[in-house]
Assembly symmetry: C2
């Protein structure tokens, strides 16, 4: 069986779970706490990060961006990056927006400070970082609203990896109750559309031990 | 003419310059200081970052990772990501290693603190970050040495984007004199091989105003 090493609060592991589900590829989940730095896991990925994909034949694909591209290379029948060169460039620009910019300006400052530090026992949350994360998220929600006023999905007419990258970051923050939905109705409508996809259900049902999400988290009509 | 908006001290702009040159694609350079946040430039890339590629027909490709994949999609005749699915996964894993991990653990802490803050006038260098960058680089140079003991190039037998990603990060740090080459002879030999590629020459000849590089920087026998 294909196996994905993941952690429920990793947006990048969620991204690959959702991509696998959208591509209708079966997989088993293996829980990995990256901060434990298990030797067997470091042998799979020297960077020590989830997700890591292990195919049934034993092929190891490490790094979330590499897995994203691998899935498109190896299983092209349901494309998630787009069908022509320029659409693919736009999808990838937006994937990078959420993978790099949103991660740095929001997720690392909120999920990173509040949860990863708690779980890994490394340091205490930095109040100034958390404040910055809360301030920065508005700009990104505005950008999602701006895009979805002009397009059906973030990168154009088709649901794509750009939507998967955005929604999985948002879902981790929403688990913390850290998305100010009421200030951003367009982004909220957009996220509600993704939330109602059957493929998204598994992510919403996955809970952190001893830390239930807020009530609206799994609610499709939030 | 194809145009690349770049800044000489951006490792990611260097990465795309080198990729274009390796693919034998002509291009003109347009200097962009991203910290000026020029409106015309933000219209090309709302993320406000170099590099941005503008094709002769006006197509705009923004984000360094998106440009990397676009070049391979649009100009496949000289492949830089590898020819089979698993090689491509390994190249991309290592590209991400340098784009994400090396950038976060080394380049942002040295080039970011020492140069970007100086040029952009935003803040003063943070001594603790600089110390961390100096400490972290050893581990990465060891990893380069470990890989090149086992492989001709970082990702295998063929020169690839993994080498381009690594060498362009190193070249920016070397401009600052911040690579402890003497402690890492294998990494040094590897970098010397890349430095001697004709395509690398243009990067080495590109100097920052009022800030010449150390003597060994352009020296092929350093």
């Amino acid at each position: 069986m294909r196996t994905l090493f993941h952690h429920p609060i990793s947006p990048f592991a969620r991204k690959i779970r959702l991509a696998l589900a959208e591509k209708r590829l079966d997989f088993a989940l293996a829980l990995e706490k990256p901060w434990d730095r298990r030797e067997e896991f470091l042998a799979l990925n020297p960077a020590g990060e989830v997700p890591v994909l292990v195919e049934e034949d034993g092929a190891i694909i490490a790094d979330q961006a590499a897995i994203t591209e691998y899935l498109e290379d190896a299983y092209p029948s349901i494309p998630l990056l787009g069908r022509d060169v320029l659409t693919r460039a736009e999808v990838r620009r937006l994937v990078a927006w959420f993978d790099v910019k949103f991660t740095r300006e929001v997720t690392d400052l909120l999920v990173g400070e509040k949860l990863i530090k708690r779980f890994s026992g490394q340091g205490t949350p930095h109040a100034q970082s958390i404040r910055a994360g809360h301030a920065n998220i508005h700009y990104h929600l505005d950008y999602i609203g701006w895009l979805t006023e002009r397009r059906t999905w973030l990168a154009g007419d088709a649901f794509s990896m750009a939507d998967i990258a955005a929604a999985t970051q948002l879902s981790c923050l929403d688990y913390l109750g850290d998305v100010p939905w009421d200030d951003h109705p367009d982004a909220k409508d957009y996220y509600a559309r993704i939330k109602s996809r059957p493929t998204f259900r598994a992510l919403l049902n996955d809970h952190l031990p001893g830390m239930p999400p807020p009530k609206h988290y799994t609610d499709l009509d939030f």
